[in-house]
Symmetry: C2
Subunit: 290 residues, 2 copies
């Protein structure tokens, strides 16, 4: 059992963060978790930095009220646009999706040709580019790494989220769209591709089949390893969490609940989410005009 | 000039309602309009009835504060789930998307085989089915109509909204997806198809090419005609509004603003939306648990 029995908080714009939660529970089967999905305002990927920062702060506040010892921002868009903002108002450690995945990508790449795909907001933010360059610059030594400067190529893939949520993870239309999206990255001979959205692990097999030989970086897996570093405690390296660990150790909160949630959640988490609680987040800021 | 100089209010979950606004300005070039797009919480189509009712009430309240004489709910999901709720707290006439389009569909159909496509929330609500049956039942006479009972077939097409917003209105992948979606409707030999989402006029040419000979019902056009009945004043039957009528007579408000809005809005409205104002809607209800 963990020494610090406070739960780990995880939030996402909706349902994608369940792929991250899955990795976290697999690594920490004895920890308790509070998961918040902001399903009333999903998605974040097509919204402005201002709005994503406001929403992220509200989500983090909700988790802090539950006395969490660590917050995982299980959403690439919120991590890209709001992690500094969230960090500025709490001393609780915050782990986002970007930095851990950037480290994994730099470690994995043999050529330094790294691709990044994500939502429009994530890609526009250049957060992965900044993080990858920072990892390269701050590394103690380049020994063992056969390249000095990364060549980055990124591309927003906004149709992947709705396709995954519809369960169209292996249709001819999805393959056609994926080929259009990945073409400019493959023509740059990337050897590593960051799946910079928590929905994308569900179409990883399709992406891998279009990009054979390319190492795919799962940001949820990278974040779970970063959480292990922060918590400084032994981890269990299971590939899949047990259904009982999820059922017994995770408290689920959603800001909206639809009948299709149950169905989609099972694909993302591996087990059904039983009876999520519903909460309404309060807007924090006064109305403003611009 | 109109006798009652108060503006007409129009709200939508985001950007789709601009296709409705386009029809309204074409029909009433001398009226003033207040348009509210709830872009901070878009889309409504995958959210629960509770949440859509709360959001719709907040949007309507915003328009009522602007002293509108009529509210057009330019969103099929909000019309399907929340029109009764909105009507219950104001005496200002409310026009939704469903009833006018249902009337047009009944008038247009020669066989009574009517198809309806829309978001998951709109289709699950059965609002079109109820409205179409009501139109048939309440008609004074069936004279001239060669059928007594409609045969309805409906299908949610959730991928159409993101495809349209990405500008993928005429790609091979979109055609493939549209064929999958429309197949069950065409196999029922529909002769009339309600485009039950304000985004769909932008892929009407593609839909028409897959469903040749089927009459497509544009809910924005039907709603504009319903507004003419309510206002009881002469209308201008232009097919396109003038850019100057839009620029001079419409006040635009959004709850979020992203750089891509300008670009997408031009496709929906026909002219660029200059400097929309930004507003934050306040959550009306106290937090609740279920």
């Amino acid at each position: 059992m963990p020494v610090d029995t406070r739960p780990i908080g995880v939030f996402d714009s909706g349902i994608g963060g369940l792929t991250v939660l899955r990795q976290l529970v697999a690594m920490f089967p004895d920890e308790r978790f509070v998961y918040l999905g902001d399903t009333a305002r999903v998605p974040y990927g097509n919204k402005s930095a201002d709005t994503v920062q406001r929403y992220s702060r509200e989500c983090a506040d909700f988790l802090l009220e539950h006395n969490v010892k660590l917050i995982v921002i299980a959403c690439n868009t919120a991590s890209a646009l709001a992690i500094d903002n969230v960090r500025s108002f709490t001393d609780v450690p915050i782990i986002g999706m970007i930095e851990p995945a950037a480290r994994h990508a730099v470690q994995a790449s043999k050529t330094g040709n790294i691709g990044v795909i994500g939502t429009r907001a994530t890609i526009s933010s250049n957060a992965y580019e900044v993080a990858i360059r920072q990892v390269v610059t701050s590394s103690q030594s380049n020994a063992g790494r056969p390249w000095k400067v990364p060549t980055l190529v990124s591309r927003p893939c906004p149709l992947f989220v709705p396709l995954v949520e519809e369960g169209w993870t292996d249709t001819e239309a999805t393959r056609m769209i994926a080929e259009v999206y990945l073409k400019p990255l493959l023509s740059q001979h990337i050897d590593t591709l960051v799946l910079g959205c928590t929905h994308y692990p569900l179409i990883a097999p399709l992406i891998q089949s279009i990009a054979p030989g390319v190492t795919l970086i799962d940001c949820g897996h990278a974040a779970a390893q970063a959480a292990a570093d922060v918590l400084g405690q032994p981890t269990t390296r299971m590939t899949e969490p047990s259904a009982s660990a999820i059922r017994e150790h995770v408290s689920f909160y959603l800001t909206d609940y639809t009948p299709s949630f149950q169905m989609i959640a099972k694909d993302f988490l591996g087990v059904a989410v039983e009876e999520p609680a519903r909460t309404i987040l309060r807007d924090l800021q006064v109305p403003s005009q611009r």
